[in-house]
């Protein structure tokens, strides 16, 4: 499927790589947007990769929209021949699944849910044919995820699990969005996981909470001093189930300035990954938990 381009007004170009989500579509989005950034066209003011599409914003006083489109197509054709390999990092995110805060919140908004008689986790496990919440949590946390987009609000990662399509978890969003979601809720909508960077409205199902802040406009949290947003598109995430004690310890460590996220640098190759997904993912897990 060829990329479909459309002007967004007179100062954006929107490019749909594919209507459907896939890791291949995401990699095209990532490599083209990387090439656009590297081309350093001064009229370009925003370069935004997304799940299966991307968008650029430009100054039409400096470049004619049609010239911008031609330039983008040229960059895309060059980037298409590049190997799908990126230097990135894997990050371990501790998650307290089925925690009391998201549970309290989901109970408050039960009338907006598809199944008012079960929790979001129970519902998601059932419609994805898992026999228990535990086996659902195992599938959610065992294989890693790609951060395929950062946005909606500041620093919020959308994540797509690094497994075959038939193993992808799919869950509808709430029937009507909630007006409240606890900060750092680990959520799910469509085929995407997310972490709510700030408290606020939301429509994703709520599975748990992480003690690890991912957005800090004050830049007072130790690992966010250099930059206030933790995630970048292309990051790899592995969830680690934790209990209440570990959660409390995590929160205390963040407050004390001693929390250190587990991060490992790696070079990711889409071909290598696809030739042995479980083995590749196991290695990522060992990198994070091993050394």
């Amino acid at each position: 499927m060829a990329t479909r381009y459309s002007f967004g007004g007179d100062d954006h170009i929107f490019a749909e790589v594919n209507e459907a989500m896939s890791l291949e579509a995401f990699f095209t989005s990532l490599s083209v947007t990387k090439a656009v950034k590297e081309s350093q066209i001064s009229a370009v003011t925003e370069v935004c990769p997304a799940n299966a599409s991307y968008q650029i914003k430009f100054d039409p006083d400096k470049i004619k929209p049609k010239d911008m489109l031609a330039e983008l197509k040229r960059i895309e054709s060059e980037a298409a021949s590049a190997e799908a390999v990126i230097s990135t990092r894997a990050v371990e995110i501790p998650v307290y699944y089925d925690d009391p805060w998201t549970r309290e919140t989901l109970m408050r908004f039960r009338e907006r849910h598809q199944d008012p008689n079960s929790t979001d986790l129970e519902y998601a496990a059932r419609i994805n044919n898992f026999d228990s919440i535990d086996s659902f949590i195992k599938a959610h946390s065992e294989s890693p995820w790609f951060v395929t987009m950062v946005g909606f609000v500041a620093g919020l990662p959308f994540m797509y699990q690094m497994v075959e399509r038939q193993r992808q978890i799919e869950v509808p969003k709430y029937l009507r969005p909630r007006t409240d979601t606890p900060k750092l809720t680990v959520g799910y909508g469509g085929c995407f996981a997310c972490i709510y960077s700030v408290r606020g409205a939301g429509g994703y199902q709520m599975f748990g909470i992480t003690p690890m802040p991912i957005y800090d406009p004050q830049q007072s949290i130790s690992y966010l001093k250099d930059f206030m947003v933790f995630f970048n598109p292309g990051d790899i995430v592995k969830f680690k189930p934790i209990d209440r004690n570990s959660y409390d310890e995590g929160v205390e460590a963040v407050e004390a300035g001693t929390f250190e996220p587990v991060i490992r640098e790696l070079v990711f190759s889409l071909d290598e990954f696809q030739s042995g997904i479980d083995e590749y993912n196991k290695n990522i897990g060992e990198m994070l938990h091993g050394n």
């Binding site: 459907a20 989500m21 914003k57 969003k173 957005y215």
Partner: protein
């Protein structure tokens, strides 16, 4: 120090021309919703066009000055007063230390820009002083103004520039009904031919959910989508797509009922398909729309959008040349 807030108005915030470059991380450009009015306000008091000003929405603040300054108020017709005496909008005037700036009730438009010589001096965050409220970022302490806030003003350059005025012909405001020109596209092909025609034919009204993130419109006929098997990951509603970026000014219609036009504090992406985008030159007008006002969306092509943008830029050039 420079000003003390006696009463804050409704949602008065510090804004400049915004914070480009971080939209890929979900941090929107922010900045004045009516950028033209913001630039004019700064030019009138001798500031750089990008200096930080106060954006007041619907209701003006009451501010005591703790030093002398030149001030201008542009955008909405929200008549300014100095110690109770009316001053003219779009025209600079002097305020002395100890005097109080307040406002009459709103007469037209929605957002007024209050420029103070020297500019509002709050910390620059990621290249801008603009408030991004959802992210508690920038502005004065990451929030809108509150009573008792004491806010610094930058060093003013040169002498008083009072009594400079933008001529009436260059005071840009939306008409009634307002016309918002749109380039259709992005996922325009997802709605039916009938819906396409209705969208431009119907007169819409600004809903009460109208803020810096986006404006919602109602009273037009619902838009129907073309049936399809939803692509993997797109979600079940026909208005859903695989979550993507949203252009500023893009028009999404969740469930096909009420169009939403995203503005300067836009959510940067999501899963609702966009049927087109308001042209860049008309974005300022949205910032001046009040709830319940009538709006027509008018389809234009790219060349028209660029011509209108050029015309707007020439108007600004004339303001720059005012002595």
């Amino acid at each position: 120090m420079g000003i003390r807030v006696i009463s804050p108005g409704l949602a008065t915030s510090v804004q400049d021309l915004g914070r480009p470059g971080y939209y890929h991380l979900g941090i929107p450009i922010s900045g004045g919703m009516d950028r033209y009015a913001l630039r004019c306000a700064n030019l009138l008091v001798g500031n750089a066009e990008n200096a930080a000003v106060l954006e007041a929405v619907f209701l003006g603040p009451e501010i005591e000055f703790t030093r002398n300054a030149t001030v201008s108020v542009t955008g909405a017709n929200l008549p300014p007063k100095v110690d109770g005496d009316i001053r003219e909008g779009w025209t600079s005037f002097d305020i002395k230390k100890g005097q109080v700036l307040s406002f009459e009730y709103l007469q037209a438009g929605a957002r007024a820009y209050i420029a103070i010589s020297g500019g509002i001096d709050v910390p620059v965050v990621l290249g801008s002083r603009s408030l991004y409220g959802l992210g508690a970022l920038g502005g004065f302490n990451g929030r809108t103004l509150q009573a008792g806030d004491e806010i610094g003003i930058g060093e003013k350059s040169g002498n008083s520039l009072a009594a400079r005025s933008v001529p009436a012909t260059l005071r840009r405001m939306p008409g009634s009904p307002a016309e918002l020109r749109v380039i259709s596209g992005i996922y325009w092909h997802r709605i039916t031919e009938e819906a396409k025609a209705n969208f431009f034919e119907d007169t819409w009204r600004v809903a009460s959910e109208a803020d810096r993130i986006g404006y919602r419109f109602q009273k037009g006929r619902p838009l129907s989508f073309i049936d399809r098997k939803q692509p993997f990951g797109a979600g079940s509603d026909p208005s859903n797509i695989v979550d993507s970026c949203y252009p500023y000014g893009s028009i999404q219609v969740p469930g096909g009922t009420e169009p939403i036009v995203l503005h300067r504090d836009a959510v940067s992406g999501g899963g609702y398909c966009m049927i087109g985008t308001v042209i860049s030159a008309d974005m300022d007008y949205i910032g001046q729309l009040q709830p319940n006002m009538e709006v027509n969306f008018v389809e234009v092509d790219l060349d028209t959008a660029l011509a209108v943008r050029h015309e707007r830029n020439s108007g600004l050039q004339q303001v720059r040349e005012i002595e």
